[in-house]
């Protein structure tokens, strides 16, 4: 293991203390230096010695002190004192909160079984291992996370294809980066930060960007593939067609290390560039150019994002991109897509006690027999939970416990989500603020931020690092979510599996590596050994020990063993009869750099920069409806209508409209923070016809809409 010995010692002035830690303001994990004066955080800045951000920080992390000390933060356990969504709360003690929850669960377990309790999280603030440990010991197979359409779907698809999730090796100078459905310089691309990509570009890496919108990266790219939304899988298959057809693949790697080449070639031959042009709107010649650039520039890596996972093609899109890494010989080589090895600490899976969940309980997982890949990675697709609440089928869900999750804003068909969470018998929400979801809860638990706990950051990530995170302040009676599971577990007869303190839990996680929390807490990071081409010795962790271009696991499960393209169920191609009423394709995932999903609208420094939800429209489309730049407009789908402010831009196809997601208004005093005014998921559909067949991923991204001005012009 490599590790840094020196504690950072930059002192601003004598009264100020600087503590090194690790940010968790989003899904990433940037090294930070936290300034503290008289017990109060006075500043947060990037740690220049840190390997994944090199001193850089994003606006969200830099503004975090405004979140920690925000006057609206939930800092005591609360019990609802009025109707759901009415906003009336009563402060209670931790004992009362935990006892109420534990007693309720005991009764539900006795009357219906533990599967009637759903435990869930959003993106996760680094506590998913504790959540799974709790859920598995509780014997509920129903864990509801964002994973069905975010990151874990990538983990699942790569698991069956090549054994693990390979990530970009920015530190070894990739010659070409292909950014697919990812605005990596604004959002956290999970293992890394945009800083790594920016550095690679400064070093001269060539850039291919696949995106329906003009982002900064798309504009800077050597080749920008502006595709019809939702057709990414067809585009990738088309590129593979060129790579194979023109003999640009790595023949030796293919011969030695892939399974199912002949069948794969046959499938890929169904996607010649001319056909793919028709599907994707991308000119055939551009598809060829991009395929050649990616396949012939060595090394090359693919930086993929969540956009491709939130459609019907989720798993197959992930598989075909993994296949492209493999056939071009870019897997596990310096500068390619690499499997990094973490320090040999207790793994996420072992700590999560997945093997302790009895098979008969796993069998009861909602949707388990339908979405087998989701079952393999231990999560459920949300609609099945809403259905079980609303219909009692296949069995009733009586309690939902959500940590850092705001499904009213972030899951498809928000009206149904709202209805289900309003009707569920018992809802517990742990979060920083009273979000529209928390406002529906029976009990709200005050969660600690990353500045309020000792922890090992990112130990589930694939970059081979673990990051010590330091407790710097205590706010009110906030508790780390990890310790909520710990204390609830003790009350539910799981005592022998839980810990006296957080630090004891951390020592248990670190134990197999022969290190303790005390030994690593002042270090910026601990890194596992980096070794490339590990497959030469032990192959890939799949049934055939090879990269499975033809998935034997999928074959066994009864799915198509080869990746293929499926048309989005609600598109001008699949539903031409809808185009009269709903003439535009709506995409819904655009980010603002200052917010993380539905978070941060209450942070003054961030909201000042981005006060309103923005919908991007091509000027020609806007003109047709008398819409001018800055106008509030209605966006309407068959499910409902919302309001956002128009931004006219030539960076989007005139047939496409792009709305932002996650918008609620913390400052709104009525209507549960106006949860449905600008919430893009009022428009999205959660009909299972649009799900990925193996993962149950919801189509959050591509649907049809109409647009019109929201106000009469004077």
């Amino acid at each position: 293991m490599e590790s840094k010995k020196e504690v950072y010692s930059m002192k601003a002035d004598s009264e100020e203390q600087i503590i090194r830690s690790n940010c968790r303001g989003c899904h990433g994990g940037c090294g930070v230096l936290v300034h503290v004066k008289e017990g109060r955080i006075t500043g947060i800045e990037g740690d220049p010695d840190f390997p994944t951000n090199h001193g850089a920080m994003c606006s969200k992390g830099l503004a975090f002190q405004q979140l920690v000390y925000h006057p609206d933060r939930v800092i005591y356990p609360l019990k609802r004192a009025g109707k759901k969504g009415e906003g009336k709360w009563q402060r209670i003690s931790w004992d009362e909160a935990l006892d109420t929850i534990a007693n309720k669960y005991k009764r539900i377990i006795k009357e219906n079984g533990p599967e009637s309790i759903v435990v869930g999280q959003g993106t996760g603030r680094d506590y998913e291992t504790f959540l799974y440990r709790f859920a598995n010991l509780l014997r509920t197979p129903n864990v509801l996370t964002a994973g069905h359409m975010c990151y874990v779907s990538r983990v699942g698809a790569t698991l069956v294809t090549c054994g693990n999730l390979p990530i970009c090796d920015y530190d070894s100078n990739p010659g070409c980066v292909m950014v697919w459905g990812n605005n990596a310089v604004w959002t956290n691309p999970d293992e890394y930060t945009g800083e790594n990509l920016s550095r690679a570009l400064s070093e001269g890496a060539r850039l291919i960007v696949v995106d329906p919108r003009l982002t900064y990266l798309a504009g800077r790219a050597d080749i920008w593939l502006q595709l019809r939304p939702g057709t990414d899988t067809a585009l990738a298959l088309g590129m593979a067609n060129v790579i194979i057809g023109e003999g640009l693949y790595d023949k030796e790697f293919v011969d030695k290390y892939t399974h199912g080449w002949d069948e794969f070639v046959k499938r890929v031959e169904e996607y010649p560039p001319d056909r793919v042009e028709e599907i994707t709107w991308v000119p055939a010649e551009k598809i060829r150019e991009a395929a050649r650039l990616y396949a012939t520039t060595k090394p090359a890596c693919i930086q993929w994002g969540v956009a491709i996972e939130q459609t019907i093609n989720c798993t197959d899109n992930n598989r075909i991109l993994t296949d492209m890494m493999a056939i071009t010989g870019n897997l596990d080589i310096p500068g390619g897509n690499v499997f990094f090895t973490p320090p040999p600490i207790r793994t996420v899976s072992k700590f999560g006690l997945h093997r302790d969940l009895a098979p008969e309980q796993r069998e009861k997982q909602l949707g388990g027999n339908t979405y087998k890949l989701a079952q393999r990675v231990a999560l459920v697709t949300p609609k099945l939970v809403w259905d079980a609440i609303l219909t009692g089928k296949p069995y009733p869900v009586r309690a939902v416990q959500l940590h850092g999750s705001n499904p009213v804003m972030t899951r498809a068909n928000a009206n149904e989500v709202y209805k289900a969470l309003s009707q569920v018998e018992f809802l517990v929400v742990s979060d920083f603020f009273l979000t529209p979801t928390a406002e529906l809860a029976d009990i709200v638990l005050p969660a600690s931020t990353w500045l309020e706990m000792n922890y090992i950051g990112s130990f589930w990530m694939r970059h081979g690092y673990i990051f010590p995170r330091r407790k710097i302040v205590q706010i009110g009676e906030c508790l780390p979510d990890q310790m909520m599971f710990n204390e609830l577990g003790k009350r539910l007869g799981q005592g022998e599996y839980w810990f006296d303190t957080m630090e004891a839990a951390l020592d248990y996680i670190l134990e197999p590596a022969g290190i303790t929390w005390e030994q690593i807490k002042d270090k910026p990071y601990v890194k596992g050994q980096t070794k490339y081409r590990k497959y030469e010795e032990r192959g890939f962790s799949t049934p055939t020990r090879k990269v499975e271009l033809y998935s034997t696991t999928f074959e066994q499960w009864g799915y198509d063993p080869l990746p293929r393209y499926r048309e989005i169920p609600e598109s001008p191609v699949s539903k031409p009869e809808m185009t009269g009423e709903y003439p535009y394709i709506l995409i819904t995932g655009a980010r603002a750099p200052v917010f993380f999903h539905s978070e941060h609208r209450m942070i003054p420094w961030l909201r000042e920069i981005h006060p309103d939800p923005i919908v991007e429209i091509h000027p020609r489309a806007a003109e047709r409806h008398g819409i001018e730049d800055g106008d509030w407009i209605f966006i309407e789908s068959p499910r409902g209508k919302i309001k956002q402010r128009a931004k006219l831009t030539p960076g989007i196809d005139p047939r496409v409209v792009s709305a932002q997601h996650g918008w609620w208004f913390p400052e709104a005093k009525t209507g549960n923070h106006d949860w449905n005014k600008s919430n893009v998921n009022v428009l999205t559909d959660n009909d299972p016809a649009g799900y990925d067949v193996a993962m149950g991923s919801t189509n959050l991204r591509v649907l049809m809409c109409k647009i019109y001005p929201a106000e009469e012009k004077s």
Binding site: G194, Y216, G219
Partner: protein, 169 residues
């Protein structure tokens, strides 16, 4: 020779993430209102033969002949030997003449305290041997700080910088 400090953004590399803005707010503990550095999207346009999305970044250029200094009726604005233009908030009466005078329109106003404000190049950090907060935070490393001569050599003839550092008045 005394160095003449300057800050300049290489907008080719700016990704529009707003990190610099918040780093600045935090460093100077600014309220809502004054934005000493500000990033906003330009209208997409053809650059080097392709449609590009670039960002506009505005901040004080610390002009060689600052018109804000000339406009201030109470001499609250001064220019140090190292080129840094500063506002003395004790002297500022909030008359806003400097706001009208600034050729870039970057002068900010703190309504709460009734004073004009702008980028001070993080003089307090410079004294501690650190770079300005925005420079350190920038994820694309596109904000360059240092001696005018050195920056110009590094970035080529940066027209905006040269103009404000030689002719602006």
């Amino acid at each position: 020779m005394v160095k003449e400090y300057a800050l300049i953004v290489n907008t080719r590399d700016c990704v529009g993430c707003n990190a610099c803005e918040v780093a600045c707010k935090q460093e100077h503990n600014l309220p809502i209102g004054p934005r000493w550095i500000k990033v906003y999207p330009d209208t997409p346009r053809e650059i080097e033969g392709k449609l590009q999305l670039r960002y506009i970044v505005t901040h004080c250029m610390h002009c060689s002949r600052p018109s804000c200094k000339d406009a201030c009726p109470v001499e609250a604005i001064s220019k140090r030997d190292d080129g840094i233009v500063l506002i003395d908030e004790e002297l500022c009466t909030g008359c806003k003449d400097c706001i009208d005078a600034c050729p870039l329109g970057i002068m900010q106003f703190d309504e709460e305290r009734g004073v004009a404000q702008k980028c001070d190049l993080c003089v307090a950090r410079l004294d501690r041997g650190l770079s300005p907060a925005c420079v350190t935070a920038c994820p694309s490393h596109c904000i360059h700080f240092g001696d005018v001569q050195e920056i110009t050599e590094k970035l080529g003839e940066e027209k905006l910088l040269v103009w404000y550092k030689t002719t602006a008045s």
